[in-house]
C-alpha cells in the first residue's frame, strides 16, 4: 500500500516538474510586450498572444519562415521516402550482388556527424549557385533524410514474404510494376511512419538552415527564430516565445494525431 502511495507521489512530482516550463512558455507568450518587465510572469495578465504572434510575423518574417519550412518538410520528406523505398526494394527484393555493402553505403549517412558535411557543402553550394536557394535546401534535406527512411523501409520490406515477389516475377511482371502494385501498397504504413519521422526532422533542423541559407525567403523558421532571439533581436522575449509556440504547433499536432499510429507501427517491427 505504501508502495503505491510512494509511486503516486513520485509520478505526480515528476509530472508537475515537467509541466512548469511548458506553463511558463504559454503564459509568457500571452504577455503583451509593453507589460513585459524583464522577469518572467507566472500568470496570465491579458490575452496578448495574438498581438505577440502578429509582432513576430511582422518583425522577423516568421510567416515566410513557416512557409519555407512547410515546403521543405513536405517535399523533402516525401521525395526522400519515395527514393529510399526504391533503394530498399532493390536491396531486399531484387537480385543485387552484395546487398550488405549497399546497405552500409546508404545507412552510413545516419552515423556521420552532420557538421562534417557543412564546410564542403557550403563551398560546393556557393560554386554551383545552390547557396541560398529553395532548390538547394530541398536537395540537402532529401539527401539527409534518405538514410533513416531507407532503414525503416528496408526493415519493413524484409518482412514481406519472398514467395510474393518470386511468383510475380514468374508471371512476367516487371520490377517497376511489382514495386508499384505489390510492395508499395504493402509498405504503406512503413512509408507513412518514415515520412512523419523525416517531416519532423526537417521541421526542427537548425544547422543546415543557418549554414546554407541567408535571405528571409529561403531561411527555415528555426533559423528565423534563432535570429529573433539572438543578440541582434529587437523584440522582447514574449514575441520570441509566441513565435516559437506557433512554429512548434504543427509538430505537436502531428505528433498527437499519429501517436496511436506510431505505437502500432513500431510494435510491428519490434
Amino acid at each position: 500500500m505504501t508502495g503505491r502511495t510512494a509511486r503516486g507521489v513520485l509520478v505526480t512530482l515528476i509530472s508537475v516538474l515537467w509541466l512548469v516550463p511548458t506553463w511558463l512558455v504559454v503564459v509568457n507568450a500571452f504577455t503583451p510586450t509593453e507589460q513585459y518587465t524583464g522577469s518572467p510572469r507566472w500568470w496570465f495578465t491579458s490575452a496578448g498572444l495574438f498581438s505577440n504572434i502578429r509582432a513576430a510575423f511582422d518583425s522577423a518574417d516568421v510567416g515566410q519562415g513557416l512557409l519555407n519550412t512547410l515546403m521543405y518538410s513536405v517535399i523533402g520528406g516525401a521525395v526522400a521516402v519515395v527514393i529510399s523505398a526504391l533503394a530498399a526494394f532493390a536491396v531486399t527484393v531484387m537480385p543485387v550482388r552484395r546487398p550488405g555493402l549497399w546497405f552500409w553505403f546508404i545507412f552510413i549517412g545516419t552515423v556521420l556527424p552532420l557538421q562534417t558535411f557543412l564546410s564542403p557543402l557550403f563551398t560546393g553550394y556557393a560554386t554551383t549557385n545552390l547557396y541560398d536557394t529553395q532548390y538547394g535546401m530541398v536537395l540537402i534535406y532529401v539527401a539527409l533524410t534518405i538514410p533513416f527512411a531507407f532503414f525503416v523501409n528496408r526493415n519493413f520490406m524484409l518482412t514481406v514474404p519472398k514467395e510474393i515477389s518470386e511468383s510475380a516475377q514468374l508471371d512476367g511482371v516487371n520490377w517497376l510494376s511489382m514495386f508499384l502494385r505489390i510492395h508499395l501498397p504493402l509498405a504503406r504504413n512503413a512509408l507513412l511512419a518514415a515520412f512523419i519521422f523525416q517531416f519532423t526532422w526537417i521541421w526542427n533542423d537548425l544547422l543546415f538552415g543557418i549554414t546554407l541559407s541567408l535571405s528571409p525567403n529561403v531561411r527555415p523558421v528555426t533559423a528565423t527564430l534563432a535570429d529573433l532571439s539572438g543578440n541582434y533581436g529587437t523584440v522582447g522575449p514574449p514575441v520570441v516565445l509566441a513565435g516559437a509556440l506557433v512554429a512548434s504547433l504543427p509538430t505537436v499536432v502531428l505528433f498527437f494525431v499519429f501517436q496511436r499510429f506510431f505505437v502500432n507501427s513500431l510494435r510491428l517491427t519490434a
Binding site: 516550463p21 511548458t22 511558463l24 512558455v25 539527401a143 534518405i146 516487371n174 537548425l206 528555426t222 505528433f255
Partner: protein, 318 residues
C-alpha cells in the same frame, strides 16, 4: 489482402515457367536485371554520394592542410597534433563525454522509470502526456524557453528568491561545469518523452503471462522489475541507449542556442568546436580535423552498438 491472393495459384505454375526461363539467354537477362537494379538504386546512392559522402571525404582530405579559406598548404598530420595539445579541445572532448554520460543517466533512466511506473496505472496517461509534450516541441523553442528560465534574472532565480532560497541563486549559464550540466537538464526535459515512448512500446511486448508467472513465484516490486521486466526490455534498451549515445555525441543545437559554446569556449562540444573553427575563425583545416575526430568517435561507438545488438539478436534467437 487482395494483393496476397495471386501468390498461391502462381506457385503451382512455377515449374514449367522456370525451365522456360533457363532456355532464355542468361547473359542478356542478367544485363537487363542490372539495368533495373541500377534504376532503383541510383537516386539514393547518387544523392548520398554527392551530398554526404563526398563532403565527408573532402573534409577528411582538408584536415591535412593549413587552410584559411584563401590559401591552403599541406601540413600532414600537424592539425591533429595541434588539436591534441590544445587545452580547449580537451575541454570540448570532456564536455562531449559529459553529454554522453549525462543523457544516458537522465533521459534514458527517467524514461525507463516513468514507463514502468505509469505503465499499468489508469491515470498514467496524464503523466505521460506531461512528459511527452516537450518532445514534440522544436529544439529552438526549447532553447528559447530555457534561456528564459536560466538567465541571471530568469524564472529559476526568481523562484528561488521567492521561496526564500535566494542563496542558491546562480549565474547558471556563465560558469563551467554548471552550464553544461544545466543544459543536460534542459535536454532531459525535452528528450525523456522519446525514451518513455520507446520503453512503453517495449513493455507492451512483454507477455502478461510472464509477469503473472513471476508474481506467482513470489517476485514483487523491485525484484520483479530487476529480474523479469528489465531482461525482457533488453532489445528496446539497446535501441534507446544506442540512439542516445549517437545523438549526444553530435550535440549541437541546444548549446549553440543557449550559450553559443560560451562563455569563451567553456561549454563547447566537439560539434561546436568544429563549427566555430570553420565558420567563425576560418581555420578550415583545423575544423576539419575536429570533425574527423568526431566522426571516428561516433562511427566507433555506433559500430560497437550495432555489433552488440546483432550479437544479442542471434543469441536470443529473436
Amino acid at each position: 489482402m487482395d494483393v496476397l491472393t495471386p501468390a498461391d495459384p502462381a506457385a503451382s505454375r512455377t515449374r514449367p515457367r522456370r525451365s522456360h526461363a533457363l532456355v532464355h539467354d542468361p547473359r542478356s537477362e542478367r544485363r537487363r536485371a542490372a539495368v533495373w537494379v541500377g534504376a532503383f538504386l541510383t537516386p539514393a546512392v547518387a544523392l548520398i554520394l554527392l551530398l554526404l559522402l563526398a563532403p565527408f571525404l573532402i573534409t577528411a582530405w582538408r584536415s591535412l592542410f593549413d587552410d584559411n579559406g584563401v590559401t591552403a598548404r599541406f601540413v600532414g598530420l600537424s592539425n591533429y597534433i595541434a588539436l591534441f595539445s590544445d587545452p580547449d579541445f580537451g575541454r570540448s572532448l570532456l564536455n562531449t563525454v559529459l553529454w554522453v554520460v549525462g543523457t544516458l543517466v537522465l533521459p534514458v533512466l527517467l524514461g525507463l522509470l516513468l514507463a514502468v511506473l505509469t505503465h499499468s496505472v489508469r491515470w498514467g496517461a496524464a503523466a505521460r502526456t506531461a512528459v511527452v509534450i516537450p518532445y514534440a516541441l522544436s529544439g529552438s523553442a526549447t532553447a528559447l524557453l530555457w534561456t528564459f528560465l536560466l538567465k541571471t534574472d530568469g524564472a529559476v532565480n526568481q523562484t528561488l528568491n521567492a521561496v526564500g532560497l535566494g542563496g542558491l541563486q546562480q549565474e547558471w549559464l556563465l560558469h563551467w561545469p554548471m552550464n553544461t550540466l544545466v543544459m543536460i537538464v534542459a535536454t532531459t526535459w525535452q528528450a525523456t518523452g522519446a525514451s518513455l515512448i520507446l520503453f512503453l512500446i517495449g513493455l507492451q511486448t512483454i507477455p502478461s503471462e510472464t509477469i503473472e508467472a513471476a508474481r506467482l513465484d513470489g517476485a514483487q516490486g523491485f525484484q520483479l522489475f530487476l529480474r523479469v521486466i528489465l531482461p525482457q526490455l533488453r532489445p528496446m534498451t539497446v535501441v534507446v541507449v544506442g540512439m542516445s549515445i549517437v545523438n549526444s555525441l553530435k550535440t549541437f543545437d541546444i548549446v549553440w542556442l543557449l550559450t553559443q559554446g560560451g562563455p569563451g569556449t567553456a561549454s563547447e562540444t566537439l560539434a561546436l568546436t568544429m563549427y566555430r573553427q570553420t565558420f567563425t575563425l576560418n581555420r578550415y583545416g583545423y575544423g576539419a580535423a575536429v570533425s574527423v575526430v568526431l566522426t571516428v568517435v561516433v562511427v566507433a561507438a555506433s559500430w560497437l552498438y550495432l555489433r552488440r545488438q546483432v550479437q544479442q539478436r542471434s543469441g536470443e534467437g529473436v
